[in-house]
Symmetry: C2
Subunit: 343 residues, 2 copies
Amino acid sequence: MSADGPPAKVTIKDVAARAGVSKGAVSLAFNNRPGLADATRDRIFAAARELGWAPNLAARSLSSSRVDAVGLAICRPARLLGLEPFYMEFVSGIESVLAEQSCSLLLRLVRDLDEEVAQQERWWKSKQVAGSILVDFLTDDPRLPALGALGMPVIAVGHPSLTGGFPSLWTDDGTAVAEAVRYLAALGHRRVAHVGGAAELGHSAIRNAAFAATVRELGLDAGRQTPTGFSGEDGARATRTLLSSAERPTAILYDNDIMAVAGLSVASEMGLSVPADLSLLAWDDSQLCRLTHPTLSAMSHDVHGFGAEVARTLFALMTTGEAESRQVPTPALTPRGSTGPPR
Amino acid sequence: MSADGPPAKVTIKDVAARAGVSKGAVSLAFNNRPGLADATRDRIFAAARELGWAPNLAARSLSSSRVDAVGLAICRPARLLGLEPFYMEFVSGIESVLAEQSCSLLLRLVRDLDEEVAQQERWWKSKQVAGSILVDFLTDDPRLPALGALGMPVIAVGHPSLTGGFPSLWTDDGTAVAEAVRYLAALGHRRVAHVGGAAELGHSAIRNAAFAATVRELGLDAGRQTPTGFSGEDGARATRTLLSSAERPTAILYDNDIMAVAGLSVASEMGLSVPADLSLLAWDDSQLCRLTHPTLSAMSHDVHGFGAEVARTLFALMTTGEAESRQVPTPALTPRGSTGPPR
DNA sequence: GGCCTTCACTCAACCGGTTCAGTACCACGG
DNA sequence: CCGTGGTACTGAACCGGTTGAGTGAAGGCC
């Protein structure tokens, strides 16, 4: 707190001098390693505090070849990302774990997977990150061959059938979709539709398949499935199409909450009452689902916790070289006001 | 692409050897500095490509004492952040500029301002960032004294009256609020309410003051203002309170779009028709405003562009040591379906 | 032909930490 | 009294780049 004129940069040497020890001792103290008397340790910390010194991480990382950051690249247009509560929650879960280890997250929004591959390679080769998190797998994802060869520690978010050998964490979307459809069927619905994502997206493919299978298994009328880009506008358009068709569904399952909100608004615009004329079921429950009228029933899961678990697993991989692929808790049905028996 | 067994780490020396030059030459090439024949340059790049080499950024940053990252700490609970499209758009705007300069963004979600100050100090002292972006200023923000003394390049997002001498970028919220109120008054509303933020938040204070002043100036009935925490639930609660009061407002201005969505839902829950019985006007226009029924009128602005401008200004500050404080375009009224003359 | 530039490049020091072999000192057992 | 082991600490090499002074050759000018 003293006015020391030009804040001349202070290095480990200055701290060492002030504490009357060698650089090595300061290093030991700041990495709390054994081999120092408590009194010395205290003197070193005191000196560092007085000088306002913190170790230069570039130097540390250079000499110890340990890195204090992990990477996450997300590939969706920003407009959309901003809207999907999922990612911010996910990121925040990741960070809650990284912060404990004083590790930083390098976040990058990319336009396409080529850009992501380029970014990940750069991160890894230039030693900016100690590992990375991969999300949004396509079936036959082009990142797999490119990044697999790199030898970079990677945790994949997605079903093992998509993530090509990378240690993976995933939610059991198939089971959750089945639960959703069964629930709607139990309410008495026979014409159920699904507003999902493009089939190239791995988790969309899984959900689509599960939807079709469950509809068949329960002997419901052939359930229509509409692929979308997950935006609210996509959801609205899909809903309009479905509700204008001859065989109008009495229940719709959406692959995120934004589209469900849009669907609710379309229903109201078309004069349908929810849930009497139409039941709506969202995915990725967020606060948004409690803000509508009626409130939206949803398949909800702990996204923050998911992110935290991903970060923990990545740490395990980076430190021990091993990581278990694991399924995290399955999204659970949270019934609210938008689902009910058909009229 | 050759199978080179264990991916032995390759350094600048290997590249130099392969290209038949010295380390210095490789360094010149990769920082595209003059002093190399084109042929040599090409040979160096070819060698680097063949070996899959990229410069170790820690080493570069250590020796050149140049840093390739900037920091942004956001202090709001994650649940809320996820919902506010604002931040993701803002971040994406920042990134669009940083990426051009191959600079990374260190993003941290913190719980309170003390934690933010600690983080910023650590970032700066440990040379992890070359500068930082500060958002969400309180009146008398505790970060100002703490970070001002650091000498770190900082761009503040907020009105200069709040940002204590840091170069700042801001939107003219006062004018925008006035425009909003004038518009509602022109539609014939005389009882207008405002669902805003806590008065400690600097921009809330500005908006609140502008609201009160405009109401007075236009001779409207005393406009009620309710401070909230910006969450949807807060918006719903505030709306219920307003609509249950004796002197029920005929129009409500919200300080973000989430609260406006919640307000719309409360209106419908209470059997009021929008906009006949009640007009609603949102702030921070996002896709969400087009997903409701009726669609939400909003004060909209280019958040992505705002973020980009902030990043550009930070770069100017970091490279030239100077940066101009500047007002960015004022949010503009975008009328949609939720505003109209009172019944 | 001699002198001065300019260009292309090399060499070694240096950035600020970490690491590890080595040293000094003390305590303890025999 | 010596050896042995352990603890506390030092010193120098090293991490992988950048930087700037220095070198040698080519070219221009009188």
